[in-house]
Symmetry: C2
Subunit: 311 residues, 2 copies
């Protein structure tokens, strides 16, 4: 099953996809079920109730009729990984612990849903606004001290994350802090795919394109720490909760093809430069896809001007 | 005014203190007001409505009749500072940017309220569980690109934070990650004090005691980046929201007094050691106080055993 969170005329809802763009609105076929995906995942038999509710139902809406929310709009925690692809570590020369994952947090206000605009900071704030295509893991049943061989029992499903990063801010000090948490800088979607449908994550290819040009492409067998490792590690100290998200880290950039001047190092700003990387700018279309899972697409728009805006 | 969040028989409520332990339950005198402090702070005239509601009212409850929650139980974001006291930076020899604050995030599940137990990890998980007494700032009216000279207009009030840290995990990799986010490792309270009552934060003394022995003591004029700096910096990239928390960083340890072997370096574990620092252990009582603001006290209890506990 593929499950979405959306708003129709401002009202939040949960949908079950019947094609890549059409879905059954749960509110139409099972009005007694919660209208938040996290609450359904928190029911002991939530997925079974969903399956019963939509069985044999035709689509009642489609992506062009709603605003898609992040798969889980407000997770209790979004754990994100730095430097978690072996080839990326080798290419950057950056070091990371071989024993413990490199973890930071993102806030919910920093992500939007599929087909919603992501926001590029004005150039006087930061000139290095970068995509990071990643696999996202959504926790179903929570737990503490989860052993690796039980970890997948705690996964509700998989999704895609564009872990948009504002690089000059990210390097302001040693902790990434604000640079990983600009408002609407990243995206999370299009849907949650249940594990039975996704299958083995580690034989799938992740790809990021900017305006149709492939900029990242890697098989998920290149992960340094895998999903089971992270669930075991995090639950050592923290009780994982339904709807928590683990974002598995991003691969490096593909080398630019001959004639591709956009990806040249001399066109890059900020503290992190690789051949083949391009910054995101207003007008770009960015798509992160994972084989068998789907495509997460966002249009880049300019964030508002640098002026005092009290809420 | 001093405002608290609590649960009475599991039902959340907001209280207005009439003494250091007694308060007026808002639900009794203004049942139409929201029962979450963040929702009251989000009303344009929320504080004025509170003041009207409790004016002339006698206390209706006291701390021994309720469970105190963190002042804001589930903030959208908890921004925390590392290395933000000049004397602490000098004493540790650690470096930080003089231009940009050193920022990381905590999750809400990592804090509890005043008088609630905080949890020490089992020694086989981590032997270095440390207090960090800090000033907490709670955002009232949100905003973006807030200039320093308007920053205090966006502060709903001040509180106290024990930013409990699990040091061996904190140093597992470069980002602090899980080490700053163990479940119930920190605390936030006892109350939010409005700025008119607290006055100038920078002439107040912060003090941390373990079992009555003073371990940290500093005047808040020693901050490297102050509250106005942080509000301006964060709102460059992120729209500050009502109820967001900024935790201003911790000072160093006081040198141990003659005969105080507990604070000796040879009794310390983990990657960060200073003369006078002691780790927190089950049975300890930890109090962080800020002059004119109040005292935040927590008893340290042992976290549960290292065994698989699905939720």
């Amino acid at each position: 099953m593929r499950l979405i969170s959306y708003r129709a005329n401002g009202v939040p809802g949960v949908g079950v996809m019947t094609s890549d763009t059409e879905f059954v609105e749960l509110s139409k076929v099972a009005p007694n079920l919660p209208n938040k995906l996290v609450d359904i995942l928190g029911l002991p038999d939530g997925i079974a109730q969903l399956e019963n509710a939509v069985s044999g139902q035709a689509a009642t809406s489609s992506f062009d009729q709603v605003d898609l929310d992040p798969v889980i709009p407000e997770p209790h925690a979004i754990w994100a990984l730095a430097l978690n692809f072996k080839t990326h570590i080798a290419e950057t020369g950056l070091t990371t612990s071989p024993d413990h994952p490199h973890i930071f947090l993102r806030v919910a206000a920093a992500h939007v849903g599929h087909l919603q605009p992501i926001l590029a900071p004005p150039v006087e704030i930061d000139r290095a606004y970068d995509y990071e295509g990643e696999l996202a893991v959504v926790i179903g049943r929570g737990g503490r001290h989860i052993p690796k061989d039980r970890a997948m029992d705690h996964v509700a499903g998989f999704s895609i994350y564009n872990e948009g990063s504002v690089r000059e801010f990210q390097k302001h000090n040693r902790q990434f802090g604000l640079g990983k948490n600009f408002g609407s800088s990243g995206s999370f979607g299009p849907w949650l795919m249940t594990p039975d449908e996704f299958g083995n994550p580690y034989d799938k290819v992740l790809k990021t394109t900017i305006n149709g040009v492939v900029r990242q492409e890697v098989c998920l067998d290149d992960l340094l720490f895998n999903v089971e490792d992270l669930i075991a590690y995090l639950s050592t100290g923290y009780s994982l909760r339904t709807g928590d998200v683990i974002v598995m880290g991003t691969p490096g950039a593909l080398p630019p093809k001959p004639g591709d001047t956009e990806g040249a190092i001399e066109n890059q700003y900020g503290p992190i430069k690789y051949a083949g990387m391009v910054h995101m700018k207003p007008g770009d279309n960015v798509t992160v896809s994972i084989e068998g899972l789907g495509e997460l697409t966002n249009h880049v728009e300019a964030d508002g001007p640098v002026e005092y805006r009290p809420a």
